[in-house]
């Protein structure tokens, strides 16, 4: 059997035999597990940066007319120093708004979902020695590095960091004189092109690996839902990111070499006019699939962890797969729902309403199936499971609040208000980030060979759950009151008179939420060195990665496993010595073919 291994894997085994220098092993490694760890450290760092930006921003929103605490340590491009303290400048506030969104989406959540976990899990869960293209994989990480450096640098150039919102709406983003931001905007756009390149290289790798490197017996419908979700996500990234790259490059040209793709001329009827709405169409053609890039892997992790934690097979495995596929497909035809009030032809709004509302159907299917997985289970409420359940609970709120925007007439009122801010955070934080925390607690033992502290993990979960809701639930109310997004000071508006106390509560909780992140960070780093040694399969899980040592050695398998069962076989009545059945063990036990019902 070992001789039948295909050739890319052979090299991995050979490499393992040679001692590697520090550089080759940790810095320029081609081992997917090391690259995943690199991505993890990178994205946790940017998660902290993004959180810091959010806390700064929240302080300004809660006390818009007061000087900034510790504002004196910031440079004069960010704050104005008056006699009674340092006040945040509106341009810095715009930079915070822009860069909080951009950093979180492009440098924290997306690479954490895909860069970390697609890298780590796809070969391990499919039974491959490594990725299809290990060197391309390394390149995919190292193209993210300049993106991060450029982003950080952009805060300190003249004019400050980009300030046209993470959606970069032209012409605000295309003309320096309109924002006062010059280099910052260009640096961020270049960073975006790097992110796109990294993402495309990664996607090529993940898709090829899933198509061609599955272990014998690992049929499409025996793949763990995590791999399914990451595979669909990679397809979305592959097809959506290049559109953003093309649009971003055009925007860079508008900024630098005098083209006018997105810049209309001032005078009416001028022949030179570019089209601001073209930017929005291109951006959201990318942007809506991006939303699913940010949630589908989280759905995969949740399905997996819920099954393990409930000691039950995933309820409706095939329905889950088809729901993933239909969400991805619909994701490409709904971009216009971000543009209902944009001046786009209202008749188009009708079509986009229908397609958008239909996304609620597969989302509902998934939610009910998760509940079905928990139903009559034997729930093991460890930290990872808590976060997975938290994901379902929070994602449900985020999904339901999305129905408001999909209904175009209601969207007239709530578009660009804090209602939207609440919605995206319930999906991105309550959804993606909860699932990511769950994934880290769950796979940490496999990645680093040690367990994370459960007590700290549970405290972290409850703090996060409570504070998260105190931060973001009231935003629905603030949005209903009509508070616009991205405003530096709301005190001048008569319809916003009653929201001061709410905003202050939100900010105080946000600081707590940020601080609770450090509890997690402490647990994370402490456990890397001091955590309890992890057994091979601490959770009693059935997928392939748990059949190898923690952490797996370079090359993962000395012998490629053979797969006999679906991915989530728990509490099978014929298996009596334990309540799980590994995908690669006991061919004598009959399990439902390809996860059918």
């Amino acid at each position: 059997m070992a001789t039948a291994i295909a050739e890319p894997t052979g090299r991995a085994v050979i490499e393992e035999a040679h001692p590697q220098s520090f550089l080759r092993k940790y810095l320029f490694s081609t081992d997917h597990k090391v690259i995943a760890a690199q991505f993890l450290f990178y994205t946790l760092f940017f998660l902290m940066i993004g959180g810091l930006l959010a806390v700064l921003m929240r302080q300004q929103i809660a006390w818009p007319t007061e000087p900034l605490t510790l504002g004196g340590i910031l440079p004069e491009t960010m704050v104005a120093k008056a006699t009674d303290g340092a006040y945040m400048l509106p341009e810095f506030y715009n930079a915070l708004v822009t860069m909080h969104g951009s950093v979180m989406v492009f440098l924290a959540i997306m690479p954490m979902l895909v860069g970390v976990w697609a890298n780590f899990l796809i070969p391990l869960q499919l039974g491959a020695h490594d990725m299809a293209f290990p060197r391309l994989n390394m390149l995919s990480f190292w193209t993210m590095v300049p993106a991060g450096i450029l982003t950080l640098a952009s805060f300190f150039v003249v004019g400050g960091a980009a300030g046209a919102g993470w959606t970069l709406y032209a012409p605000l983003s295309a003309r320096p004189d309109l924002t006062g931001v010059e280099m910052g905007q260009i640096l961020w756009l270049i960073a975006l092109v790097f992110v796109g390149l990294s993402s495309i290289l990664g996607s090529v790798n993940y898709i090829t690996t899933v198509i061609n490197m599955r272990a014998p017996g690992m049929t499409w419908f025996r793949m763990p839902l995590t791999v399914w979700a990451l595979f669909i996500t990679a397809i979305l990234g592959l097809l959506a990111m290049p559109v953003l790259s093309a649009a971003g490059i055009m925007l860079i040209f508008d900024q630098t070499i005098g083209t006018s793709f997105f810049i209309p001329s001032n005078a009416a009827g001028d022949a030179l006019s570019g089209q601001p709405l073209l930017w929005q169409h291109l951006f959201w053609f990318f942007g809506h699939p991006e939303v699913y890039i940010l949630i589908l892997p989280a759905m995969g992790f949740t399905s997996e962890i819920l099954a393990v934690g409930s000691r039950k097979p995933v309820f409706g495995y095939k329905a889950m797969v088809w729901a993933l596929i239909s969400i991805a497909f619909l994701g490409f035809i709904v971009w216009g729902h971000h543009m209902f009030q944009s001046g786009m032809n209202p008749a188009l709004g009708l079509a986009f309403t229908v397609s958008t509302l239909f996304i609620a159907v597969p989302s509902a299917i998934k939610t009910f199936n998760w509940m079905g997985t928990m139903w009559r289970g034997n729930l093991q409420l460890h930290s990872a499971m808590l976060f997975a359940v938290g994901f379902v609970a929070m994602f449900a709120i985020g999904g339901l609040s999305g129905v408001f925007m999909a209904s175009t007439p209601v969207d007239i009122y709530i578009h660009d208000t804090y209602f939207i801010v609440a919605h995206i955070h319930y999906v991105l934080f309550g959804g993606s980030l909860f699932a990511l925390f769950g994934a880290i607690y769950f796979w940490f033992p496999k990645m680093f060979g040690r367990m994370m502290n459960e007590t700290l993990g549970k405290i972290h979960f409850w703090l996060t759950l409570v504070l998260f809701n105190v931060v973001f639930f009231p935003m629905h109310g603030v949005g209903m009151a009509g508070m616009m997004r991205r405003i530096y000071d709301w005190t001048g508006y008569q319809h916003l008179e009653g929201i001061g106390a709410t905003n202050q509560i939100i900010t105080i909780a946000a600081v707590g939420l940020f601080a609770s992140g450090f509890l997690f960070a402490f647990n994370f780093f402490w456990s890397i060195w001091k955590g309890e040694k992890a057994p091979d399969n601490p959770w009693g899980a059935s997928t392939l990665e748990w059949s190898v040592p923690s952490p797996p050695k370079h090359g993962n398998w000395s012998e490629i496993p053979v797969v006999y069962h679906g991915p989530h076989e728990y509490s099978h009545p014929d298996v009596t010595d334990k309540d799980w059945l590994g995908q690669n063990e006991r061919p004598d036990v009959v399990t439902p073919a390809a996860g059918s019902h």
């Binding site: 046209a164 709406y169 509302l357 175009t408 007439p409 009122y413 616009m484």
Partner: protein, 225 residues
């Protein structure tokens, strides 16, 4: 704490608010079902070493049920939304007796071009006022939105109206009314630069006689050009 929609003054605002509360009711029900179910499962099926979980891979019948029920609700909701949307935004359905204004957004001002006493835009008695929008209450109003520099969004919360003004796109038209006199504000709802937060203009819905008087005073002030 003010967590509610601001008072509504406009006709189509009633339908928007009604839809909002309908959706809140529906999603609220789903919210209670899902969150209640999760909590119940957490308590009911909390793990014990003595019990084994029920072995099942799902139920096709249930899958169909929870696919069809949301789909039906969605279709109904979508159809109703589409009708309301069409009534509000379809230019062919705009009232013909409406008084037309032009509103020009620029960093960071709203400039309103008034049709003057002849109530027709583009004639010599038009006049322009910065950051003040006056119109007669109880009458239909059409605003031709323009922008000089970047994308702005024309937002009057109490009238449930919001529409982006896009540079290079002349005359994005919106229709609304205020059934009663009132004092509101135009806020900019789309990030438009460093003065975005201060791009506000006062909106006054007058009784017709008051509007005529205000207009007369403006014409007099501008020296009858």
């Amino acid at each position: 704490m003010d967590w509610s929609l601001p008072p509504n003054f406009s006709t189509h605002g009633d339908v928007i608010d009604q839809l909002f509360w309908i959706i809140l009711g529906l999603t609220g029900l789903a919210f209670v079902l899902v969150e209640g179910g999760i909590i119940w499962f957490l308590v009911r099926y909390r793990g014990t070493p003595s019990r084994r979980a029920h072995y099942t891979h799902g139920s096709n019948r249930l899958e169909v049920v929870w696919t069809v029920i949301p789909a039906v609700i969605i279709v109904v909701l979508g159809g109703y939304s589409a009708m309301v949307w069409d009534d509000i935004k379809n230019e062919n359905k705009f009232p013909e007796d409406a008084l037309e204004f032009t509103v020009i957004g620029k960093q960071f001002e709203w400039n309103v071009v008034y049709p003057g006493v002849d109530e027709v835009l583009g004639t010599s008695d038009d006049f322009e006022v910065r950051n003040q929008f006056h119109f007669p209450a109880g009458e239909n109003v059409i605003v031709n939105l323009r922008s000089e520099d970047v994308i702005h969004s024309f937002f009057i919360p109490e009238l449930r109206v919001k529409q982006d003004a896009v540079p290079g796109m002349d005359n994005i038209r919106i229709w609304f009314d205020s059934r009663e006199p009132g004092q509101f504000e135009i806020a900019c709802a789309e990030l438009c630069g460093l003065g975005h937060y201060r791009m506000e203009a006062s909106v006054t819905a007058h009784a017709r006689a008051d509007f005529d008087a205000w207009q007369a005073s403006q014409v007099a002030e501008n020296g009858g050009e």
